[in-house]
């Protein structure tokens, strides 16, 4: 039982990270109907920037905040420059542009920082916390806490601020919002900025676990996709919950189902995505999208 609880807790921790990346995906999807394939690479790139700042001698939390600011501005600019011209183009065009962005970020990171893995510091103490017979990794708990903090922050932002309200309106009904004087284009850009920021948090939380390298996000991105699909691409809360579920499933399956182990981890995510899309395409908490012909 102790192992079980331990596995669930560490599953929740990684799940929180999947959840925050999934949250970033869902935010962009809701605001712009784009699934951002470059989300993982954006997070990876932000984490490298954080690494640079830390190496320049900045204290951790200062570098953390600075990275968030840079990520926000970067996400905003990417939307303005790259996505805006193809906003109303067919899905294929948008997918290809996002893939292009993925490839560029990945190779530029490799170019600047090389493909060698780098350790990334955790802001939390390395000593595990003991409760009864169970050890909790301090970083696991910290990462989970940070994720929840981000979620609460976003909830408050969208629920109680005028800007948040305007963004929700712009996503739901662009035409009416524009008539009300909301600058829809900018709302979308801010949406990208926020998603980049959330992604940066996820990147900095996961980097101490998986180490920093340009390809570190590929596996995490697919889990984030699985989480977002499970929770429903139309539900931000669902995405986070989906992430937690996926994290726990991943850990339990890896520990208890012998023939899968850790070697078929990505396949588990693939199967999960396919099953959810086939059985309940809108996910657990999403609403089905109805389209007028």
């Amino acid at each position: 039982v102790d192992t079980l609880i331990q596995q669930i807790v560490s599953g929740l921790a990684t799940g929180g990270i999947y959840g925050s990346l999934a949250l970033a995906l869902v935010m962009i999807y809701q605001a712009t109907d784009v699934v951002n394939y470059a989300q993982g690479e954006m997070a990876m790139f932000s984490t490298y920037l954080a690494w640079t700042l830390l190496n320049a001698g900045l204290p951790y939390w200062l570098a953390f905040v600075a990275t968030l600011v840079i990520a926000f501005v970067g996400g905003l600019l990417l939307e303005r420059v790259l996505i805006r011209p193809v906003e109303s183009a067919p899905v294929l065009t948008i997918v290809i542009v996002c893939i292009g962005l993925l490839v560029i970020l990945n190779s530029v990171a490799g170019w600047i920082y090389s493909y060698i893995q780098k350790p990334f510091p955790s802001p939390f103490p390395s000593k595990p916390i003991r409760v009864g017979n169970i050890y909790f990794g301090a970083h696991d708990l910290g990462a989970l806490g940070v994720t929840l903090l981000v979620l609460v922050g976003l909830y408050v932002f969208f629920r109680f601020t005028t800007l948040g309200l305007a963004m929700r309106a712009a996503a739901q009904n662009p035409v009416s919002s524009r008539l009300c004087g909301i600058r829809v284009g900018w709302m979308l850009a801010i949406g990208w900025g926020l998603a980049a920021l959330v992604g940066a948090v996820a990147g900095m939380m996961v980097a101490p676990i998986v180490f920093l390298d340009p390809n570190m996000m590929a596996g995490i991105l697919i889990y984030a996709f699985a989480s977002a699909t499970l929770g429903g691409f139309t539900s931000p809360g669902g995405a986070v919950l989906g992430g937690l579920i996926v994290g726990v499933i991943e850990n339990l399956v890896g520990t208890y189902v012998k023939f899968i182990g850790t070697e078929l981890k990505l396949t588990v995510a693939l199967v999960l995505i396919l099953v959810v899309l086939l059985v309940r395409p809108s996910g657990l908490f999403g609403r089905p999208v109805v389209r007028r012909v």
Binding site: P85, V91, F225, L264, I273
Partner: protein, 324 residues
């Protein structure tokens, strides 16, 4: 505004003549590169039938390429099947696999299909490593290059080149016929307006899964030939970047264009080679930039731009004012 048919035939014939002369003038290494170009062209044509013509986005065609390659490798390595049959088997297996994957794909549109296939592409190397007993795990399988049959005086590279060229011409002819007729119109109609296509009596579900199957078969044959040409298969060669490379190829060559597959294949074979001299990361940076620039500036790729240029030239010669 496409070229007149006799021109297309003449150009294709000229290209074929050049292609037939190449093996007797080039070094073995160059020849290998051109063999690779033809292999890519087949895979790109397969992906283009699905994505360009039928509008189903696949970010995971590397998976079918891998299935083709491993079918050939395993059949030769484990069961000693003659390599010619393994190519056929790879094509058939991928046809079935693609058809089966196409059935759930029916319920997934646009972004979701892209997502599912993307996940497939990411998962492939792991799956290959897992079935170590057959696939040789991360060590892969080493094959011997087949020599020329019937006592022909050809080096293995020359023979493989000609074999690949032959398969390529056959597959291109098949695709051109498939896409020109009633079937092709149905495939394109599904892309442009699925509801209208269905109302006109097109069995969209059947056509979509069949297109998926045919597309996978093309890519599988390409994979099989690549296993022979490289004489080696290993899981990490079939990672997600292979699938992205194929996507780059059809975008650069031209979506929904048959000749585009050749331009795309030339691009993905030679440009990275040149770019590699700048930096290890440079080929991918260039891919990315090209992807985005082409989407903005030349959404119909090289083939589409050539077609436009040819149309403009003909109109000027005919002295008519361009319509629209």
């Amino acid at each position: 505004m496409s070229l007149p048919r006799r021109w297309t035939v003449a150009l294709a014939a000229a290209a074929l003549v050049v292609a037939l002369v190449l093996p007797f003038t080039l070094s073995n290494f160059r020849l290998f590169q051109f063999t690779q170009v033809y292999i890519y062209a087949m895979a790109l044509l397969g992906l283009n039938i699905l994505t360009g013509y039928n509008g189903q986005i696949s970010l995971g065609h590397g998976a079918f390429y891998a299935v083709g390659a491993y079918t050939t490798a395993i059949m030769i390595d484990q069961w000693g099947v003659p390599y010619g049959w393994t190519i056929v088997a790879a094509g058939l297996l991928c046809l079935v696999a693609g058809f089966l994957f196409g059935i759930p794909a029916l319920r997934l549109e646009g972004l979701y299909l892209a997502l599912a296939t993307f996940a497939l592409a990411l998962a492939v190397p792991q799956i290959l490593k897992y079935f170590e007993h057959w696939t040789g795990g991360s060590q892969g399988i080493v094959l011997a290059k087949p020599g020329a049959p019937w006592g022909l005086e050809l080096s293995p590279d020359q023979w493989l080149y000609l074999l690949t060229l032959g398969v390529l011409v056959a597959l291109f002819g098949l695709a051109a016929n498939l896409l020109r007729g009633r079937t092709g119109r149905a495939i394109v109609a599904i892309r442009d307006n699925p509801v209208a296509a269905q109302a006109m009596g097109v069995n969209t579900a059947l056509y979509k899964s069949l297109t998926f199957g045919v597309s996978a078969a093309y890519t599988g044959v390409a994979g099989a030939l690549s296993a022979l040409a490289i004489a080696f298969v290993a899981p990490d060669a079939f990672n997600v970047f292979l699938s992205i490379t194929l996507l780059v190829g059809i975008v650069i060559g031209g979506l929904a264009s048959i000749s585009g597959a050749v331009f795309g294949a030339l691009f993905i074979q030679f440009v990275p080679n040149w770019a590699q001299d700048i930096s290890k990361a440079a080929p991918w940076a260039i891919y990315g930039v090209f992807l985005i620039v082409f989407m903005y500036a030349m959404p119909h790729g090289i083939a589409g731009s050539l077609r436009l240029a040819a149309g403009r030239w003909r109109r000027r010669r005919a002295g008519t004012t361009p319509a629209g």
